[in-house]
């Protein structure tokens, strides 16, 4: 393999570019200064403030609730979609699954805003969940579909030959085999939902702030080091989720 020194140097610079901002945020979350400019000294004050911040805690709870419900529903629907795409010829389904991923996110946000107002649905937790499910289905379907493609069809056929009904063959043979893909899809849907800003921005009501919405407001109006503390905590949570995911299904992380 040819890996000359300049290639290493350029790649290292790229890795530094990827990690420097995250490192800066973590370091500054312990900075005893109300400005993000200079390092004054070590403090845990921003974390203390965070846990007394009512708005932030409510938003975190909202995000969690939306993430759990949306990813659960999206995983079921996405798995069905992935399976249907693999097994049957449904011309419209692949298009409908990929389109929400392929078009600019803002389109989905504003069109759902118009739609929800039109059908008189109050913007809030429910509208956010309905929107999140819609954009998560595709990601789950693609991961599950990829997992199915690597599957040996003769296993299901063997189950059928031994007298299993199609449902039994699916539940007892196919589903356990594609489970790592389903779990990876579920975790991906959960992270996408927790992280989503654009679509949530348009489909959230005034009383249904999620964590990204609160962070956006904080970042836009008053840059306090409290943001650094939330960010550091969120990074830790994400890291933990990734570690769990890689334990559950090695190799599934490549899917994203």
């Amino acid at each position: 393999m040819r890996r000359p020194a300049w290639l290493w140097a350029l790649a290292l610079a790229a890795y530094a570019f990827l990690y420097a901002p995250l490192l800066v945020v973590v370091v500054y979350s312990f900075n005893d200064s109300t400005m993000n400019a200079q390092w004054i000294g070590f403090t845990l004050d921003w974390y203390r403030k965070l846990f007394r911040n009512e708005e932030m805690l409510t938003a975190a709870w909202n995000s969690l609730l939306i993430g759990v419900v949306s990813s659960a529903v999206a995983t079921v629907l996405g798995t069905m979609a992935g399976y249907a795409m693999y097994r049957f010829r449904l011309r419209l389904l692949p298009l409908m699954v990929v389109a929400p991923i392929a078009i600019p996110e803002i389109l989905m946000g504003v069109s759902l805003l118009i739609f929800f107002v039109m059908i008189d649905l109050t913007l809030g937790m429910v509208s956010i969940m309905l929107a999140h499910i819609a954009f998560c289905i595709g990601f789950v379907a693609i991961v599950v579909r990829a997992r199915l493609a690597g599957l040996d069809d003769s296993l299901t056929e063997a189950a059928r030959d031994l007298g299993a009904t199609p449902w039994q063959a699916f539940r007892l043979v196919t589903l356990p085999l594609i489970m790592p893909g389903v779990v990876a899809g579920a975790l991906m849907a959960f992270t996408l939902s927790i992280d989503d800003f654009v679509i949530t921005f348009f489909t959230a009501g005034p009383d249904s702030k999620t964590l990204p919405l609160v962070i956006y407001t904080m970042v836009k109006i008053t840059v306090t080091p409290e943001v650094n503390a939330v960010s550091t905590l969120l990074m830790l949570v994400t890291l933990a989720l990734i570690l769990i995911a890689s334990r559950l299904s090695p190799g599934s992380l490549k899917a994203r």
Partner: protein
């Protein structure tokens, strides 16, 4: 499992869900782009009643407004330009990374790749916000540099709240979208091709430029589309890192929907954005397919 109803039993529910919460809203927005704005924002009633009776009240004036005001065409061109520069810079940064990972021993590849994806998993806004700290005029990074050039009598460099900051943020956030398809392509290259080129007398540069790069074009186009489309329509990055001069088309769409509350015109802008983005992605896909021949 060949029964016809099985297909609808399994494929039906997700199809129905996406029809209701994706296809129908998109169609409604298409119709909304031909409606009148409501008196207090939103949309005016779609049916009007006059002497001739009830009829659909649709108009093309929103599109006329779009095409007659050069401001919007300029805004689109500017956003296109930002997205294009972002795509090219992403390619420049991502290529060495993808190449290094693809040419690393198999057992290190997953770790090196994971290191690229890992930052991508943390919240998008946080990754953008981090650049406020780094690019701020008093930051440890730029501050020291500004002090230094201050000694030489030069004016301090302002990066935050300029278009440059927007592009840095755009490149940073979209980088993994470029690395992944590039890596997927480069990983499949047969090293024997490089050996053959070397035997025929090609130096390192020629081996890269005349063998590796042309073979990687499908990956370049795929990554290009994956970076370009989201970068084109974004509004949060210009909002956070750009000043008044950094506004992109996404910001104006957001304004139309939330501040001006002119939904029909916002719909026009969204439709044009989508058509342009999808057309350019289609072009990239077409190039990718052609370069594979």
């Amino acid at each position: 499992m060949g029964k016809r109803w099985h297909k609808w039993l399994i494929g039906g529910p997700p199809l129905l869900y996406l029809t209701v919460f994706f296809a129908i809203p998109t169609l409604i927005m298409l119709v909304a782009s031909f409606r009148h704005p409501g008196e207090f924002g939103g949309l005016a009633p779609i049916l009007t009643e006059d002497e001739a009776g009830r009829r659909l009240d649709l108009t093309t004036e929103n599109y006329v407004r779009f095409f007659s005001d050069l401001l919007y065409a300029q805004l689109f061109l500017k956003s296109l330009w930002y997205a294009l520069v972002t795509t090219l810079l992403c390619l420049l940064v991502a290529y060495p990374l993808a190449l290094l990972i693809a040419r690393s021993p198999k057992r290190y590849r997953d770790v090196l790749l994971l290191l690229v994806i890992l930052p991508f998993w943390s919240n998008f806004l946080i990754r953008v916000y981090a650049w406020i700290i780094i690019l701020g005029p008093q930051s440890v990074f730029l501050g020291a540099f500004n002090d230094l050039i201050g000694l030489a009598g030069l004016a301090p460099v302002q990066v935050l709240y300029t278009p440059a900051a927007v592009v840095i943020g755009l490149v940073y956030v979209h980088l993994p979208f470029m690395v992944l398809p590039l890596y997927a392509n480069l990983e499949k290259h047969d090293p024997a091709l490089l050996d053959a080129a070397q035997d025929l007398g090609a130096n390192a540069w020629n081996r890269f430029w005349r063998v590796t790069f042309p073979l990687s074009l499908p990956g370049v186009y795929a990554g290009g589309a994956l970076v370009f489309i989201p970068a084109f329509g974004i509004f949060a990055i210009p909002d956070i890192l750009g000043g008044t001069g950094g506004t992109m088309i996404g910001n104006v769409i957001k304004q139309q929907f939330l501040d001006s509350r002119d939904w029909p015109f916002g719909s026009v802008l969204s439709m044009v954005l989508t058509v342009v983005a999808v057309a350019l992605a289609g072009l990239a896909a077409w190039f990718a397919r052609r370069s594979r021949l």
